[in-house]
Symmetry: C2
Subunit: 313 residues, 2 copies
């Protein structure tokens, strides 16, 4: 059943002993929203813990809370569109047992007993802020740090198409509640691991231009991962690089997996549709950001991809 | 004489035939504020043109307006802290003749007859929006595009320490007035010239780590400018790169000038003070971003700089 913010707030107020689930490979929005909600519930005198399949990345460690001891009664999922995103282990334990899901993905599978979804929100954190208002819980500096982290990370620092006037107004409110916006943004957007920096250098060195420079392509091989000491978990940002070059309508990042096969991340500028290109290889995504799996023969893979890109330019 | 926003608005309402001056090497704030104000004045039925010493960079061309023909009566400077920033030619013509300066730099020299300064504003565009309110001029989509450009460019897309709750609220208002935030941010922050991209690649290849990896240093030589086809006018963003690496407290970019001498841009993380480091070489700046001139002997220059950095770590 879907509920509005008032319904979700009433449910939270009426229950206790919460486990809050974040999605696997956690990002700033699932963690900021999860730990923000956890702090809100604790401020109401309730018991609550956050659960995530993976270790929390170091850059989010300041959001974390020590676990409380209690017998779990209520399960809330935050920023989880589909049960498989809970990840192995957590999914087996919690699928079919989620009481309330708070999310901003239009694709949410409504897998929970109650679903509070607002696809117009740029981040799940927008919904958590609204819930704090509904519940009349004052937003402390610690809560504001969590929720600002959600807002800024899910919008690429207020850069993406999902940002609305509301997103900026909520950011303003979090700053007034004490969020350390400067340092959160410095940590999230101006800090690379040394291994990622080394991989980025190799990736840029691999960049090639095609189709009258309207396509730029980066290739990341397993050899580059080994040489840089980097790995798949920290290389997502590379996909943005080839499209950044002026005149490039389609930026492609081809990444070799451990099994030797390749996957492509495609970023386009309007009017080129990246999801159309990727759909030809069984993949998909959004209009300007999509992906697909490719075979193990790099030269053949590139040639096929370039042929489809040329058709779509 | 300093005036508040009401005083500046009254002055604008009472005068006509405006020349609006932007600073040389124009950025998004001086141009967004200048062309935004120009549109506001024209919407009031007044005549107004924008004047800038340099050609307007292509990435700002959508802000521009065709000149009107009229006899200049009133001169307004926007985002200009010091007459020398008007640049050669413009300065000779206008120094001592500026009627009103609208600016957000604490360092403003109050060189105009009337000065309307608010150093708490992240961008001059914040003041122009406030003036539109004072003047009861509705903010059209075209005005909003100009002023959003000012807000976002002077804050590194809402990332820097100068951003306040007010900055975000004004961004929200500009989006509601029709500003195409997504495409403005794409153009300003996700687009590099091909020559800059080539220079960036060479610069990253030059990066060296010192002092237990707490200092990273990039060296940009004239040879790199030649090889990449880039030039000094488009290389400012490189200065941010070395500090981005995790654990780096001081990021240094050494750039060779056409005369063979070097200059250093220093970026630090708290508590390290970049301006203290640069002051030892006769330079200065802010706590986390400063610069200084160096000699022509690169090896000697690096060694001296590293010794001072080590003292300050």
């Amino acid at each position: 059943m879907t509920v509005d913010l008032g319904g979700a707030a009433a449910f939270l107020a009426a229950h206790d002993n919460f486990t809050i689930l974040c999605h696997e490979r956690p990002d700033g929005d699932t963690l900021g929203s999860g730990y923000g909600l956890c702090r809100i519930l604790r401020a109401m005198g309730k018991k609550a813990n956050v659960r995530c399949r993976n270790e929390i990345p170091k850059k989010f460690s300041s959001l974390m809370l020590a676990d409380q001891a209690f017998e779990e009664q209520t399960v809330v999922a935050v920023d989880i569109a589909d049960p498989f995103l809970m990840g192995a282990g957590v999914r087996e334990q919690y699928e079919g047992r989620v009481d309330l899901c708070i999310d901003h993905h239009a694709s949410n599978k409504c897998f929970s007993r109650l679903s509070c979804i607002d696809a117009s929100a740029a981040a799940a954190a927008e919904l958590i802020i609204a819930l704090a208002h509904e519940l009349n819980v004052p937003i402390t500096k610690e809560i504001a740090d969590c929720l600002f982290t959600g807002l800024t990370t899910d919008t690429g620092c207020f850069r993406y198409a999902n940002v609305t006037a509301r997103t900026h107004r909520l950011a303003a409110e979090m700053i007034e509640c004490g969020a350390d916006a400067e340092n959160i943004n410095l940590q999230q957007f101006e800090t690379k691991t040394k291994t990622y920096a080394a991989l980025e250098r190799l990736a840029l060195d691999s960049m090639e231009y095609y189709l009258d420079d309207r396509c730029a392509m980066i290739t990341v091989t397993q050899e580059m991962f080994e040489k840089s000491g980097s790995n798949e978990s920290e290389c997502d940002a590379i996909a943005a690089l080839p499209r950044q070059v002026e005149g490039v309508m389609v930026g492609v990042t081809i990444r070799q997996r451990t099994d030797g096969s390749f996957k492509a991340s495609v970023r386009s500028r309007n009017p080129v549709d990246a999801s159309l290109i990727c759909s030809r290889f069984g993949g998909g995504g959004h209009k300007n950001a999509a992906g697909c799996q490719l075979g193990s023969n790099l030269a053949e893979t590139k040639a096929k991809l370039l042929a489809v890109i040329e058709e779509n330019l």
